[in-house]
Point group: C2
Chain length 190, copies 2
DNA sequence: GCAATCCTTCACCGATCGGTATACATTGGC
DNA sequence: GCCAATGTATACCGATCGGTGAAGGATTGC
């Protein structure tokens, strides 16, 4: 699927509606009729642009992934130091409005798409693999000890923060603090 | 819903089938007709025993919750030391067959049940609250410094391990090691 | 012997599911 | 002036969704 700017106006509106509905209500629970109605578009147009519901799901996840990666990279580049850059993904989380308490769209997608062949599943898994690799690269840049091991630990904490978000008391603050202390420790150890 | 032993044979079979299907395929994606067929029971009986699909969902989560809490408490009681007891929930994870890579049933349920009023959502949130409280109690028993803060960190790591399980490379080993080192550190600090 | 509980069979309900067919209007580029 | 792309409207498809009504066959305990 092409990126948002090169999409036709109708397709763009469909994608906007799909993102909001899929995220807030769940992918399986939302029907294509509802997405079409919300975006003010005929079902025919929806199918002409996205081919199938699975195609729309993949576009939804791709769009979210693309936007999120851009935010993370911006946060990385605007970090004060290489050490701060390592925990940039956590500051991105803190900067977002996550009051919906719907957690991570990709974790949710993995929960709803158990089929290994589903295109959306691949996108969600790639997102997580990308973050793990990013943590490792940033840890290397910050001259931390054992970058891959540190990356896995940061990944655990990051995903833990997202997974506990739907709970009444989110743990993002604790996650950020713990992540920073692990980075500090690994930097000293090197 | 009554516990498994006091249930009628048909109801028990329905619950077994529901547990397997809801967990492996997702709650929303599985219809009541399929659950009835798999359990060799009429849809009528299913509805006589569980009232509605939501009732069956609640029974599914309750049953899983009950079984899991029992396993955790057994692991806690058979721990060699109070310090080991704190990380007992991690050893429970390691002892289970989690090769399905379907992650945590409760995290998945929260992803699929966005409605705050859904009975299943309450059960899933209570499960997480119970674990957080258990971590804090065990940390107190092990004379760790700042039990509530340690509990939140352990919670993050625990949920992170579950959330990353659907990924190709699970992080349970790293999670257990990190949890143990945090407990060690907090025990020394006290 | 009687009643209650459990479970069955089977037919049925309106609504919604993902997806398609046909036909027509608008728009911009060549 | 024309063609292709884009979008509209409407009607339709078989399948499945969660859920119910009505009637009857077992088993159990009093």
């Amino acid at each position: 699927m092409r990126s948002t700017e090169t999409m036709s106006p109708a397709a763009s509106r469909v994608l906007d509606a799909a993102e909001e509905l899929f995220y807030s209500r769940g992918i399986t629970a939302v029907g294509v009729d509802l997405v079409a109605e919300r975006s003010g578009v005929t079902k025919r147009t929806l199918y002409n642009r996205f081919g199938s519901k699975d195609g729309l799901i993949a576009a939804y996840l791709s769009s979210r992934d693309e936007r999120w990666r851009a935010e993370v990279m911006t946060a990385v580049e605007s970090s004060g130091s290489p050490a701060d850059a390592v925990t940039a993904p956590f500051t991105v989380l803190a900067s977002q409005d996550r009051s919906s308490a719907r957690g991570c769209a990709f974790i949710n997608a993995l929960a709803e798409l158990p089929d290994a062949d589903h295109p959306g599943r691949r996108i969600a898994m790639d997102e997580k693999a990308w973050l793990l690799d990013l943590f490792a690269r940033l840890a290397t840049d910050a001259r931390c000890a054992e970058p891959p091991a540190l990356a896995r630990r940061l990944m655990l904490i990051h995903e833990g923060a997202l997974a506990t978000e739907p709970l009444s008391r989110g743990l993002l603050t604790d996650a950020t603090e713990l992540a920073r202390s692990l980075v500090r420790e690994a930097a000293q150890r090197a």
